[in-house]
Amino acid sequence: MAARGTGAAALRRSLSPWLFLAPALVLFGAFKFLPMWRAVTMSVHQVRPYLGDRWVGGDNYHQVLTDDAFLGAIGRTLLLAVGQTGGSILLGLALALLLEGTARHLWIVRTAVFLPTVTAMAVVAEVWRILYYPAADGAVNTLLGYVGVGPSQFLNSPDSALWSVMGVGIWRGAPYDMMIFVAALAGIDRTLYEAAAVDGAGVLRRLGHVTLPALRPAFTILLTLAALRGLRVFTEIYLLTNGGPSGSTEVLMTLVYKLGLERGELGVASAGSMVLLAASVLLTLALRLRRDRTGKAAP
């Protein structure tokens, strides 16, 4: 089909980008947006595939936002997100500062340190269940025994379970953060360090006034990624404790999973997911807004 006249040419010009986008749009539409839309509709229905869904309006949302189990889960999700994000960033930064450089032995150590991040979560969970074995002859408890502490119940006591899960999350997340920091550290102009040293700045002042400000973009991206990852935490909890003992590690995703796929309450579960989606979107927007503002404030 040849285009005839200016109108047709303009139409063709405006259509062609959409045509190039079409394959991706179709795939996204079919596998992302339509299922998401389906989740939105399910969240306002009592879902019964073979009997017909029943419209319940905001009841599912009301249940999610007033139910003690959901509120507790939201609180723990936030605590876990903050703890894992903060812990991973601090540990990741410390590792990055220790292991920065181009020497061969550093490269080997960095690879070894990175292993937890690439290991399958199911394997990590099983390994940590063994490490956390809650008797005096457990691996971690043996170490604690040397310094005269413990034995701790770790995953098996409501007091320590959430912290133990957080520990696994940090252990697994820190190396990833480290890699981002290592890349960012490599981009810092060496002459800045030299100039600071000439001006008489010690190690700590160089860290505070040169390194950390230069790492600001890395912090932003890590905070965004880690906060979202933290909110969606599921696999490690499901495999380590499944929300127990005594509900002390129940987070939003495990609760949604239990309701939706174990008890068949797909409507309430969808509403829970929507709340999580809203929280994720808000958090991303807030972080973006902050970045824009700090970006403008910076010279």
Binding site: V26, G29, L34, G138, P245, S246, K258, R263
Partner: protein, 443 residues
């Protein structure tokens, strides 16, 4: 160019129609029936296992006799999840063989066809109690019993004999044995690394309640009082309280339970028994094949659960039903297959002798004599326990929420030794009352 755009739009439109098709729902199968349509059968068995092979044999025999083609799919992990996905796509299998406890959940979602017990060939040959596990809260039947099982104590015989203790016949003796296993170094390695009870105490799938129910009933307590449809929670009765306190004592006072029990599911509990961490395990006959191989047949014994102080011995009975799923193209074939599975031939084939390929644990057909098919005497313990002391979970529209709530409460009780059993059970009774009301089964 426009043709390609048109095609893109057509694809988009097709996707949209497919998805709206999911949302709009009609009633159950009015599809044109075809008596020779292939039957798709899902079984909850590990893929590649000998149990899957037994199900395939059953299906092959059925096809040879009736000419109706069949296809067996074995699924184990996430069976329910995959079923939900199939339901959402309205492409359910024709038949599934799955836990009796799943009836309520599937019924509520309209996934099941009802079964006419009287017109089912061979239905009168079944042990009457097994029909209880196929009954819906409206009194109609929504499945056909296929296999039954009960539970018994697996006890480390070598440990018990080394310590010179008798087989337990009361709860006190059971506790004494558990304490001795914990403190008496029964494996003689000089280390304090053994325990009494192996408990799958996680809340996942309600495991802790699943384990505990036999004890609850044996202690003379129950989940509810009243008749189906007019139930009242009884989980805070004095007998229930005493039994819960007894469970808590094992965890908190005697400390005779293996470490990590409160987050362990069965896959993590089995190794505790196999590797010599714990010596007393209430579990089902399906573990005998596994433990014979990993631990050795001579190392352990199978003993019926003794009665508690307030009652008579009772053990959880469960099993599998054949469910006739909604929307099948071959309803007559569905019924014929269910009939074949309960026939003497189907049951005997399913029992698979003494091998680990058994899919019928205890036969539901009265005509089938267990002792003739299996020589292993330990099966008799389970068969007797089932016939004399077996109890199915209460008939409510949906048992899962109760099981989950009970497991959550008990898990909190034993994980937190500072908890107050009376308060925990009182709260559980409140949850039960609420759930009964929600399901329309309370008084």
């Amino acid at each position: 160019m426009p043709t390609r755009t048109a095609r893109t739009f057509a694809v988009l439109l097709a996707c949209a129609t497919a998805l709206t098709g999911l949302a709009g729902c009609s009633g159950s199968g009015d599809q044109s029936a075809d008596d020779k349509a292939q039957l798709e059968i899902w079984v909850r068995k590990p893929p590649g296992s000998n149990t899957e092979k037994t199900h395939q044999q059953l299906a092959e025999r059925f096809t040879a006799q009736t000419g109706i083609p069949t296809h067996v799919t074995a699924l184990f992990d996430d069976f329910e999840t995959k079923l939900q996905q199939a339901a959402a796509q309205k492409k359910l299998p024709d038949l599934i063989v799955n836990d009796t406890a799943q009836l309520g959940t599937m019924l509520k979602q309209g996934l099941l066809r009802s079964v006419d017990r009287k017109s089912l060939q061979g239905g009168d040959q079944l042990i009457p109690a097994t029909w209880d596990a196929a009954k819906g809260p409206d009194g109609a039947y929504y499945g056909v019993p296929f296999s039954a099982q009960s539970f018994a104590l697996f006890i480390r015989k070598d440990w018990r004999e080394r310590l010179g203790l008798p087989q337990p016949t009361s709860w006190d003796q059971l506790d004494a044995l558990a304490t001795a296993f914990t403190t008496g170094d029964p494996d003689g390695n000089g280390k304090n690394d053994t325990y009494g009870y192996v408990v799958p105490g996680t809340t996942k799938r309600g495991y802790l309640d699943w384990y505990y129910s036999s004890f609850l009933w044996s202690g003379g307590a129950d989940y509810f009082t009243g008749t189906p449809g007019k139930l009242k929670p009884a989980v805070d009765s004095p007998a229930a309280l005493a039994t819960a306190q007894w469970l808590k004592k094992q965890f908190c006072t005697d400390k005779s339970v293996v470490p990590g029990a409160v987050t362990a599911e069965t896959t993590q509990a089995h190794p505790m028994f196999e590797t010599g961490k714990g010596g007393i395990y209430l579990t089902g006959p399906y573990n005998m094949a596994r433990f014979d191989k990993s631990l050795g047949k001579d190392k352990y014994e199978v003993v019926p659960l003794p009665a508690g102080p307030g009652g008579q011995a009772a053990v959880l009975a469960e099993g599998e039903n054949t469910y006739l799923m909604a929307g099948s193209h071959n309803p007559k074939g569905q019924q014929k297959y269910a009939e074949y599975l309960i026939s003497a031939e189907g049951q005997t084939l399913g029992m698979a002798g003494d091998t680990d390929g058994n899919v019928v644990r205890l036969p539901v057909n009265k005509q089938v004599d267990l002792a003739k098919v299996r020589t292993d005497q330990r099966w008799q313990v389970f068969d007797q326990a089932f016939r004399q002391a077996g109890r199915y979970t209460p008939v409510v529209p949906e048992w899962t929420p109760f099981r989950q709530a009970s497991a959550d409460a008990l898990n909190g009780l034993v994980a937190d030794c500072g908890s107050d059993p009376k308060a925990v059970l009182g709260k559980l009774a409140g949850t039960f009352a609420e759930e009964l009301k929600k399901q329309g089964a309370g008084s």
